[in-house]
Amino acid sequence: MTRTPTRRARPKTTLRPQPAVGVSVPKRDGEEKVTGRALYVDDLKFPGMLHGRTVRSMVARGIIRRVEFDPAFDWNGVVIADHKDIPGLNCVAHLTEDQPLLAVREIEHADQAILLVAHADPERAQAALGAVRVEVESIDAVLSIEDSLAARVKIRGADNVLKEYNIARGDLAAGFADADVVVEGVYRCGHQEQLYLENNGMIAERTAEGGIVVRGSMQCPYFVHHALQRTFGLPPERIRVIQTVTGGGFGGKEDYPSLLAGHAALLAWKSGRPVKIVYDRLEDIAATTKRHPAVVRVRTGHRRDGTLVATDVDAVMDGGAYVTMSPVVLSRGALHAGGAYRCPNVRIRARAMATNTPPNGAFRGFGVPQTVYAMESHMDRVAAELGLDPLVLRRRNAVVVGDVTPTGQVLHESVSAVEVLDRTAERAGWAEKRRRYGRENAAAERAERAGRFAPGGRRLRRGIGLALGWHGAGFTGGGEVRLNSLAALDLSPEGRPRVLAANVEIGQGAITVFTQMVAERLGVSPDLVLVETPDTDRVPNSGPTVASRTTMVVGGLLEQCARAMRERLELFAERALDGDADFRRVARRFLAERGPLRVERRYQKPAHIVWNEETYQGDAYPCFSYGAVAVEVEADLDTGEVRVLRVTTAQDIGRAIHPLLCIGQIEGGTLQGLGWALLEEVRWKDGRIWNHQLTNYIIPTAVDAPPLDVLIVENPYSGGPFGAKGVGELPMDVPAGAVVAAVAHATGARMDEIPITPERLLRALDGREERR
């Protein structure tokens, strides 16, 4: 299956096409989604297909004592699979192989999968679920970071630590000794659900040749491919993974689909029939991965003018019951924990702790939102303690070209921390609003004391807060080298260029951007470029669609492929190519005379990038993107509710290949950041997620979304295609710190835990009123 662009009338002249890069061309997948023609995994049906359901643990930790199948239930036509049916390893292969596909004896988190049932009728499958009774003997569980650190109950080794990193630079003790002021704070943040519109879903088939085909909603076809090889003990060529149209991911379809594909495939393997498992929202929220909660202690030393001389960060994240993605989430969080600031003496310690909760996984930002939120909240506190304008404090310390990060990485180019701060502040009217809100709040306070109230009798206060963030594009350290990505470009039989990559469209615009970059280099219009469906039988392994890497890394490979293809065709034609029609003429002639044309490019590490995995020193990322956010809020003193009035943000992403899609990423990521900071709270009861419904897991609605004023800054990175860096995650990293600062400005309450729910804020405000 090839995704073809929708036909639009195009003049039949051979005018040289307009530039393709930097233009907001129609989104390649837009029309089929808007018109409802796009088929998601739940829209697909196969003859003889069964519907799978998952029997899960109700307790957080325990021992399975008995599994009972209700004898009164009609089990005809029900397929049942448990761990004994797994032909290969009972594991979900990620970085480590500690997570079982199905529980054997030990239960390590609530909603852990124990066995699978399937039936041709989804209603019978659902009923069968209710006819299985699993008796689990409950044992003491570890349910929080604090409990895990205390290690009274040990669930991992002697100390419950899943992974630890230490990063050091300079002389910390000397730095603190040198400081005029030392400020310390502890900052907490909770779980967050990705809440893609389309729930996780997968269909698996066992092939006549004894192989497996799975289709489904996913970000990383080759992760699934790898995991299935381990589970089924099959060689790579017997496994085929095909991405179906995917309704959002945000990291929630990075690691989890490997598990779900294993479940569907196991049922298909056992029954010999296609099996579909599609979660409903209740199951998806209860069982799938979340953002890691974190407790981050930050201690910094400053000169009186705010200059940072020492930074000591201790970040602890809740990894959940298994290792899964925690080491890499933690690593990225640690590498960004110092913020986009220059500091000669730094110590960063980061630990991921085991708890008896469902494994936390990838989520937009991947550890960075947690540590950047902590650092930015902290900087606002420092500004208050030093009596400095938060903008001035940040400008004084923000990194510039030539500065060195905590891992010793010299920032050689494309460093825009100061520029994004300045442009955000200027556009938001920072200085003026800071003064004005302060004045108005004081006036409101006086008026209310005199019995004069705003219309509607409300007691409202406004504030503005600022934050700065950074995000390294691509895999951390040697990650890209290990991925060893391969992307290709070939010619379709009709003489059109065709992108072959495993990177997926999940709504973010990846395939549109690929067509633009290829088109630009081939001198054709993006419409001419085809994109192959990510299918492991058809596309090479260009790596996962994660880590803000797709445009920069894979787009870069495709751009090189396009250059090479053009060279080949021009050599063949013995002249320059000239637009769409000419390209197709030459391409068809090439196919006829020379046969197929396929150009491949593999990732090459730029020579100047050096990373030492042992010492955690060197170039953690090829480059960073930078963003600043100003958030204006209105807090209601009677209810503790905080409304975001306006967000202004400038983000340097190198080059906007498709400006509108970039704005979309920035708006969406910012709103997700606002939700995390103010509304979204996963609530737990006896180790299970209590609010696993959209009614009670509160995300912002369209009317909660404030006006978002987005400024794209383009400070090109020489190693990225057309200068592009990453944009996908940065917008999620920055807003929370700005929200905390804005709430502090509005109400005087400095909230050290997010989300700032109305309950938390009102408690803090009441505490202050009582102290008066």
Binding site: E123, F453, D638, P700, V703, R763
Partner: protein, 311 residues
């Protein structure tokens, strides 16, 4: 959808009489569950809780539709949707608190489909129209094969989700007195001045986000000052702070007959805490609800009369 929809049946009655007959007849063999807009019922079905296997579709019953002004009482058919209420000119003029509540329920899609009768019969302590109907002293019109009955809203909720209706009764309508109608003349008392002052109406629900939010606290109020400057009508009703939507009788009694002052407001606030019994639950906690209930009462009082906030 966790409920097995294919196992469910839906009866489509011809008219109200037919519906009542079907409902009555069903009592012996599994009661037919009345189905209005379905916005509550489908949520339960989706989560796999099956309120019944057989449903009685009310949607086409014309007898349950329409909004009429009958001799100063407004009669709203049970199937009146919140969109209709939100946009109804007379509702907006005479019952602004009800219009405000209608506009806060879910969002437009739910307001287009969700009905007043369904909100009442669902009997959730968080139902947003309920405090307003309680404060307006609405009357619920119920009907069964045995005939019609009127149940004052104040007597409607017997306990958590326990409605003072028979299983074969349908809600047909809700009627509202005009809060600003002049009181009936007492013998001998001459009416002074043509227009008595209007009662101030208030509604606010607190639910964290600005749409699609189930109330953590909702407060509806009615307050009128007499010519002598004393409160001569005080009604305060709250949702989500007890097993049922309730009138804050103690707080009302503090207000009634009092002259507005900050001290009276403080006393009413203290009394309110005796009226309500909020709990910690999935949406919020007891402390927050107590605090916010008091804050909303104060906000209501200062909107109704600024003197409540001054010395």
């Amino acid at each position: 959808m966790r409920a097995a929809l294919s196992t469910l049946e839906v009866a489509r009655p011809r008219d109200l009489a037919h519906a009542l007959k079907l409902l009555h007849a069903s009592l012996d063999a599994g009661r037919l569950v009345p189905l209005a807009g379905g916005t509550d019922l489908f949520v339960t079905l989706n989560s796999g809780l099956v309120p019944g296997r057989r449903f009685l579709d009310l949607w086409s019953l014309r007898e349950l539709r329409g909004v009429r002004d009958q001799a100063g009482r407004l009669v709203l058919g049970a199937l009146t949707t919140f969109s209709e209420i939100r946009e109804h000119a007379l509702v907006r003029r005479r019952y602004p608190a009800l219009a405000a509540a209608a506009a806060e329920i879910g969002a437009w899609q739910v307001q287009n489909r969700g009905t007043l009768g369904g909100n009442i019969a669902n009997a959730s302590p968080a139902g947003d129209s309920l405090p307003v109907l309680l404060a307006l002293e609405a009357v619920v019109h119920a009907r069964s094969v045995r005939g019609t009955r009127e149940v004052p809203f104040t007597a409607l909720f017997r306990g958590y989700r326990d409605l003072a209706l028979e299983p074969d009764e349908l809600i047909t309508a809700v009627s509202l007195p005009d809060p600003d109608a002049p009181p009936p003349l007492r013998a001998g008392a001459a009416r002074r001045g043509a227009h008595p002052p209007r009662a101030q109406q208030f509604f606010r629900q607190v639910g964290t986000r600005r749409a699609q939010s189930i109330s953590k606290v909702a407060l509806a109020g009615l307050l009128r000052l007499g010519r002598d400057g004393r409160v001569d009508l005080a009604r305060v009703a709250l949702g989500s702070v007890a097993p049922v939507t309730l009138r804050a009788g103690r707080a009302e009694r503090v207000l009634l007959g009092a002259r507005p002052s900050a001290a009276v407001a403080a006393a009413a606030r203290a009394a309110l805490l005796e009226d309500i019994a909020p709990i910690d639950d999935i949406r919020s906690d007891r402390e927050y609800r107590r605090r916010v209930s008091g804050n909303l009462l104060e906000q209501f009082l200062r909107v109704a009369d600024p003197r409540f906030a001054r010395r």
